[in-house]
Amino acid sequence: MKHALTRTAAVVLAVAGLVGAAGAAQAAEEDFIPLLVYRTGSFAPLGIPWADGKLDYLKLVNARDGGVNGVKITYEECETAYSTDKGVECYERLKDKMGGATGFDTQSTGITFAVTDRAMVDGRPVVTVGYGLSQSADGRVFKWNFPLLGTYWTAADVMIQDIAKRVGGEDKLKGKKIALVYHDSPFGKEPIPLLQERAKANGFDLQLYPVAAPGVEQKATWLQIRKNRPDFVLLWSAGIMTPTAIREAQGVGYPRDKMYGIWWASSETDVQDLGAAAKGYHGITIQNSAEHGRVHEDMKKYVYDKGQGSDKDGKSFGSLAYTRGMMISMLQVEAIRTAQEKYGKGKHMTPEQVRWGYEHLNLDEARLEKLGFAKLMRPVKTSCENHMGTDWARIIEWDGKKFKVVSDWYQSNPKYVQPLVKSLGDKYAAEKKLSTRDCAAEG
């Protein structure tokens, strides 16, 4: 036993040393994108297609274009299981790889919070497409955070707009009851301030129903909903919580077409097994991620036909969450490309340079067409003040077999979102004793 123990101890020390040394290695003409994913745990139904999409797009860029102007994209997945400590460990392990990780998409609001502090010190961009801290859209306070394409505030605002349209105008919202059923965590609580503002302005009654993580126990919540009969239900859920909620709604006879799911709760994996039971369920999409574009064909041709695809059982490829994953990777790759245009094409980019790239993204229609995202997205342009770019979104509806797009393009109303970004951004800066950047001076 003693021998075994000494031997174990020796291995422990040896491996710990190697792990420490591995971080220092540097390769030229390669850029590293870390992939924090959760393929296990209660969020896995969402995490798997998302991770597949992110991973496959990077494979596609290497296979089709030979990287970014000849610079190969290297990547490594790290499993977080949606847990903050594991996410922090992943961040620490990957941040210095290959001359610095170019951007972290943590896939979790909790991990984003924990990583944001470290990223500010280490100088690593944190890219949170459609999640994270909503106030981080303010680039003056959050130099390293990029909540590209939308936040929970813009999503909540768009949902209210769509509801207003259905009831016949924003003035008709008065006296209506709108419920928010949310995952009781920072993720689920994010939309509350915006909805409260909206409730005040439009005169509707906001009801809040927290659901304890991971969200498999919702009986009590839906009994209350049956009692209080809200006119609409907004569902801030992810992973296993979504199908549970829809099933409970069915159980108490709440009409599914009065339910709106946040984008993480609106992918095929969430409703497929429910089939007709989820018929009429509404969801919101980031940009137009329910559509398919040329990038899907390229993906099939360059990656899947060669047997390189990550989706082995044909479940995730082409799903909404998968497409969103591709969009996220595309933005990360384009940030590297933008940085190369300033700092030298075909060169290795440091995280600081890629941060500049994120801040000066300019994906116009021609560019999106070239990338194969023409039908999926509208132009995105970021700046020092605006780290979100644009916040286009659409509403989709499950018809029992597939999602179909049922609305035109929406954009959030800056009248409600902007003051919140400003005030909560300033509060954050004050609490953390951060100084705000002067965007005019930086040019």
């Binding site: 296990t40 896995a44 798997i48 790290c78 919070f113 965590s185 509350i192 004793k433």
Partner: protein, 354 residues
Amino acid sequence: MLYRENGQFKSSYRADQQIFPIRQDRWFVGGLLLAAFVAVPLLASEYLLQAVLIPFLILALAAIGLNVLVGYCGQISLGSGAFMAVGAYAAWNFGVRIPGLPLVAQILLGGIFATIAGVVFGIPSLRIRGLYLAVATLAAQFFMDWAFLRIPYLTNYSSSGNVSVPPLAAFGLPVETPAQKYFFVLCFVLVIGVLTKNLVRGAIGRQWMAIRDMDVAAAVIGIRPVYAKLTAFAVSSFIIGVAGALWAYIHLGSWEPLAFDLNRSLQLLFIIIIGGLGSVIGSFFGAAFMVLVPILLTNVPQLLGLELPVDLASHIDHMIFGFLIVFFLIAEPHGLARLWSIAKEKLRIWPFPH
């Protein structure tokens, strides 16, 4: 050969009662401290400090706290995650509401609040014991989870319920780089570790152990169960509260109640069971096991050049980890600390065992 006490005579009670009565032990510990304070901050990589050593030290500290209660006093607790949360949130609230309060004071105040919570939730231990007490402490866990999620005052009305700490400084020195953080945590662990070791060797520790071994007998020989049990709860939750504040401030920097959920309580319980109940050094062994093994299991396939998908690797991790726990418990039910003391015993008579 090297490790023997021949010729080391103790001529006073003082000499006989030191923590490390054998000279070689003292040298070893001195060397270890020197390494921990000087060599590690100089040599260790950022990753090793941030992802391995800091969590290891903080979890070891929390495990020492839990060991006081479970290992020394025999009161099973499933509420340690809750007491860590109380420490973390209390420290943070003091920091936010009283500007200029020194960092060390914030953390200690966090510990004091955890003490109060611990004593309150320890009161049922006077009436119930064993498994029933474990369930009662579970109530603390659920209550605290609820409180920090639902009472907006406790998170200073943060919109998402998530709180984060400003840049830290202690005694005018910044606590920002990994080495500084490590150093800061190490000082806490050292001071509290030594204090606890002395506490459990002294009168109060003996009272705890008497209660643990048989509380009726202990009461008969004049030990007051109320005093002994509640002091164990108080000391234990103070240490756990300080560890919680460190975990939140130093390791995470920004956290939500999920960081201190039931899994954390169970993790601490595993640490002390694997490390050794009723042993301060066992807490360190257990914490090392808990922190290092998962990281090793993640990194080993990569170092061997195996390309495992992350989900498969994560499932294998769980299996191997579970297997190791079962294996260690069968091979040595008294934990790694017992293996350590057996090793020392053997070494004493090596190379001529009788």
